[in-house]
Amino acid sequence: MTTQTRRQFLASSAGLVIGVSLPLKGRAQSGAAAVMTTGDAGEGTFAPNAFVRVAPDDTVTFICKHIEFGQGPYTGLATLVADEMDARWDQMRVESAPANDELYKNLFFGLQATGGSTAMANSWMQMRQAGAAARAMLVAAAAEEWGVDAAGITVAQGVVRHEGSGQSATFGDLAEAAARQDVPVEPAVKNPSEFTYIGTDMPKVDSRAKSNGTATFTMDVYRDGMEYVVVRHPDVMGATVAGFDATEAEKVRGVTAVRQIPQGVAVYATSTAAAIKGRNALSVEWDMSAAETRSSAEITAAFREAAQSQGLIVEEAGDSAAAIEGAATVHEAEFTFPYLAHATLEPMDAVLEVREGTAEIWMGAQFPGFDKGAVVQTLGLDPEKVTMNVMFAGGSFGRRAQTVPQIGSEIAEIAKAAGGDGAWKLIWTREDDMTGGFYRPLTVHKLRGGLDADGNIVGWEDRIVNQSIINGTMLDQGNPEDPTAYEGSTKMPYNLPNLTVDWVRMESPVPVLWWRSVGHTHTAYATEVFLDELLEKAGKDAVQGRLDLLKEDAGRDRAVLERVAEMAGWDGNRVKGDRAYGVALHESFSTYCAMIAEVSDDGGTPRVHKVWVAVDCGIAVNPNVIRAQIEGGLGYGLGSALYNALTLGEGGVVQERNFDTYRMLRITEMPEVEVEIIASDADPTGIGEPGTPPIAPAVANAWRALKGEAPRNLPMVS
């Protein structure tokens, strides 16, 4: 085992890229988002790396580099650490890491970021090594204290023991001595057969606090002398303030100031209620010169027009045009998908306190470095003096992974306009949240397929027309391609010898963003509905037809499809009584997922009674969390597919401003869900998003069995 002295280690700080051996410097400064905080590392605390702290009171605090907004990283990643340390589950605590793009980077992205269902996948080895290093140092400390050979020491349930001498100690007892040990650079991790927690339903660390109102979110942060701020944003995307009259707003009791900022007109008050009331009394004139004044209908028409011409070819095999030309049967379809709002139940918000050149931010940021950077830049502060507390967030679904730091910039501008020291809480109302942009891109798919006389698919073409999420943002690498626009239409698991997938990139001032499962939100629908139709035209069964079409190396796709068919008792009869059954298979984020939906016709609206799901996400670290993410992911996808469109009306004004018009799936509409997880020894992959893509095509395919046609334009109910 390579070792390094603790001192060398600390000295080498910033550039160190060894997975586990991250220095103390920059570790969690604040437990604001902690589930059960132990406070700052005190006297005698052992902190072997940036992720683990062992306190003399025998608590083990795991510092989580990923934000918790419901997908379970606090629990899942703490499980890895606890398992490798052989800790007791009830001694584990979880705290949120502060913003530090070096220490707490997502190993897939190179900066601190949560997204793309990567929390488990990128942390899998890193957190296990973090736990293993801590364990090795505790063992070394015990060996030294007891004067015994480390090889004779065992660790179980948070107790370090030496059978030969009869000595034992808790982690807390050894914390101080462990801190003096060398830090192993590449600590050995367990064999899977040695796992004690990994693979079991460990209880979630945050369930209690989220059931009794004590979990602290951004909106729950209060600072002395804090002002509450709401901003009058434009009704139309891209409009800017031309002028405003604050006379009436300033008369509202509790309103302290009204100031223009680049994002709109900010109303400062002594309470949220007063700020909202003040905003209602404002009158603002808008400069529309850079605004998107087209309606969704006009944008859709322009996108459909653009779908007539070829775009950038992003995947090609054989000669699809010739194959379709010579086909016995040609099938064509065009699908349109609306803009969608993430509609996190906690709307966007942030708290910022500035005192004598230092600043502290509280926010549910998926890219905390970006938002911190916005505050640093806007206020001209020293980055070392700005602290970011990454808070629990009331949902994200991609919304808080801001490719431009929308909220960080807005709270910074609020502080800048106020000038000097102070504390401010920015609250977006639901109306701000719905009209604030950063939607799932409006998308058109145009597909063509050809069958030969035997029903084989000889040609496949899919043209995707939409805006780019990446290009023109802080993540733009200058590539003409942007896979987030069409992922899932490419690299399909099926044998399609003649295939062309091309992308027509559109421009609009409407900002777009990743929305739970990103490109897969529309590609899964377009490809799996279209394929289902082709298979039927070919006289093939929806399940067997897919199995026959799968590539040789698509074993994991095959396994989930076969399993789900067994679970649902699929027998080829798509309609039984008033119920119909539809299947869909779609891999996203390296997780394989197949669903079968049972659907009936409820007065012209699909009613989904039951969904069977088979999923393969590699080693199932916490099956309970995986099932929960499948349930939630498919519920999220189902509600949107059935009901949601974020529509720009005449002049570009957003029509759906709250839940009265942007309808949320409710408990009465949630199907029964049965999930099976395929046993696997592959490294874990993502689970936050893969449950979303297959539900809409599964429902549409069932609906087609019932009604003859699958919906071409989403949402299904309008």
Binding site: K210, R430, G633, F659
Partner: protein, 152 residues
Amino acid sequence: MATFTVNGKSVTLDVDDDTPLLWALRDELRLTGTKFGCGIAQCGACTVMLDGAPVRSCQTQVGTLDGAEITTIEGLDGPEAEAVQNAWTKIDVPQCGWCQSGQVMAATALLKDTPKPSDADIDNAMWGNVCRCATYVRIRAAIHDAADTLEG
């Protein structure tokens, strides 16, 4: 100016009569367990008990509350609340958690009225509480579990 009881304590608030109870609870009393989701009585995140019945605090004006008794998630107690919160934890209902104070309030009110609710009773009592994370499968299971616990 209104005087009413919150979690058993008398409070007098010097705020405009049309101030939503939600913001008074949060900003004046710092009872932050009650959440804001929509402001128009469409989501239930702000659910509190008013004289024992669940109401939307975002649409309840402080000026109407003279003499009323309000219970928030912080003051929720009794066997039903305990059974609900234990079931919520055991079944790991919450995901992001933002809706869950409201869900717990609504579920507790349901069990006080209907100790052994059917699925239809659950639908009736809970449909007004949105969960954007779609934890509905577990909400239903946890209510049944809590009912079983109460039955003993």
